[in-house]
């Protein structure tokens, strides 16, 4: 901008917001590419609008059938299912975290030799490879119907989640604290206990609560493939067209998740 001209007209009095993607060609490429993809995706969606249209009054009746939620009629089965889900989620979280700690320590680049690192990263990657529900299908095949299959599937899922985040948290920790403890001549376990554990603990407690929350929500669907918990009850209530019971179950799930979220918020404040 030329200062001599700025008092006259050449200084633009029109301002435009800068674009999010600054390179114009990239912006246009992304936009055009996305538009083409969207057109293709919508074109091959093969939506049966007639069926959807017919479903609308059905959906209305269906949603009406949800109200009022019926907590009374099947309360025994629902209570058992919820309890099974809760215990399944708790034990899978605890067991998963116990397994995650050594794996997470091994998968932290700044703690472990290369071969341990790659071994542990491999375990994490393979336990993250499939959604919990696919794990559950195979667990049911191997261990039979019931909560044990769900427990195994959720534990594997917990390892992939918890060990990965633990390893990443250890990798970004403050190295000077670890060094300070090390120069006192501490043993390896003392080093982990006094230098590393205090640094990662607050976040890990929060994550443990979050994982409990995830495990509980997952346990609600694992029953659909036979893995125990409230999902089986939910599925049965669905196929028996007892939608008022379905609504009751969904409300109970939502309330439990809200309570868990509240507890974890409180716990995290208390830990820090």
């Amino acid at each position: 901008m030329n200062t001599t001209n700025s008092q006259t007209s050449s200084y633009s009095d029109y301002w435009k917001r800068p674009h999010f993607i600054k390179r114009a060609w990239l912006r246009w490429l992304l936009m055009v590419g996305f538009a083409i993809y969207l057109a293709l995706a919508l074109g091959t969606m093969d939506i049966d609008w007639e069926r959807a249209w017919e479903g609308l009054p059905r959906g209305q009746r269906f949603i009406q059938a949800f109200f009022p939620p019926n907590f009374a009629d099947n309360r025994g089965v629902v209570f058992d299912g919820i309890m099974e889900s809760i215990w399944m989620a708790i034990s899978a979280t605890i067991f998963g975290i116990i397994l995650s700690i050594p794996i997470g320590l091994g998968a932290a680049r700044n703690l472990s030799p290369a071969w341990v690192y790659f071994l542990c990263r491999g375990i994490i990657a393979s336990s993250r490879s499939f959604p919990e529900i696919i794990m559950a299908i195979f667990a049911v095949k191997l261990f039979g119907f019931g909560p044990f299959a769900g427990f195994v599937a959720l534990s594997i899922g917990t390892i992939g989640f918890f060990a990965k985040l633990l390893a990443e948290d250890i990798e970004v920790m403050n190295a000077s604290q670890a060094e300070a403890v090390k120069v006192t001549g501490s043993s390896w376990f003392q080093w982990i206990n006094y230098a590393i554990q205090p640094q990662v603990m607050p976040r890990m407690i929060g994550l443990a609560m979050y994982r409990l929350d995830i495990n509980f929500r997952e346990s609600a669907v694992i029953g659909i493939v036979g893995g125990g918990g409230i999902g089986a009850t939910l599925n049965t209530s669905f196929s028996r067209y007892e939608f008022d019971t379905t609504a009751a179950i969904l409300i109970i799930i939502i309330v439990i998740v809200m309570v868990l979220e509240y507890i974890s918020g409180y716990l995290r404040k208390w830990v820090q």
Binding site: D46, G55, W87, G228
Partner: protein, 270 residues
Amino acid sequence: MPIIETKDGPLWKRRTLKQSLARLFWWTVGLIVAAIAWKLISDKTHWYFVQSAPKEASDIVSRMMPPDWSYMDKLWLPVWETINIATLGTLIAMLISIPVAFMAARNTTPHPLVRAFALFITVTSRSVNSLIWALILVFILGPGVLAGTIAIGLRSIGGFSKLLYEAIEEINPVQVEAIEATGASRLQQIVYAIVPQVLPTFVGVGVFRWDINVRGSTILGLVGAGGIGLQLSGSINTLAWTQVSMILLVILLTVIISEWISAKVRGAII
């Protein structure tokens, strides 16, 4: 961190007695809970079936080998559908989340009651798994991709709005004040002061969510909501194990590629 004076000099301890006792108490509670949980699960387990698991596992693996490569011809369309379900579902969720997040953030909400309502939407959407949403929607809309897309969308609203409204609450208020001082309306303040601050988060979360949704949409077919899960449940039910292993391989590749793309894009944004 207490220091105890002894006759040999001061002694450093990590915790006070009270802290140690509190920790002991919580550990005991934790152990009791774990023991109860384990007892309840083990009571409902047929250990006979568990014992046969290794044999069963090697049996299934031997039946799965080698994967049925020729089945791939029939999998291209389901994979394409799976990705579309994830992408379109994410887009729906993004569009709906924007107003919900602005209603839920403390600094932009028009009224505390509106905020409570928005938070309720957020929790409801997050609590119900996409598979359950799909179960409900297949009933209303019929089996197919549409039910899956909407299920993914409904499930994602919660996670999206939560991260987005937290980002809105954490913005730098000085910029909003600066825009307000120019005499901008409330809407202009949002567009010129808040949106530029949260846009990177918004896009980052969108890509992150897309990756999660690709994983999620691979299984929606189990309840008939389209995507590759339909093939998976079909092949499992007909005990076509070589096809199952092929499908698992394809799911694995899809998940890895989507995770890689998501990580690259987020790396470019941040």
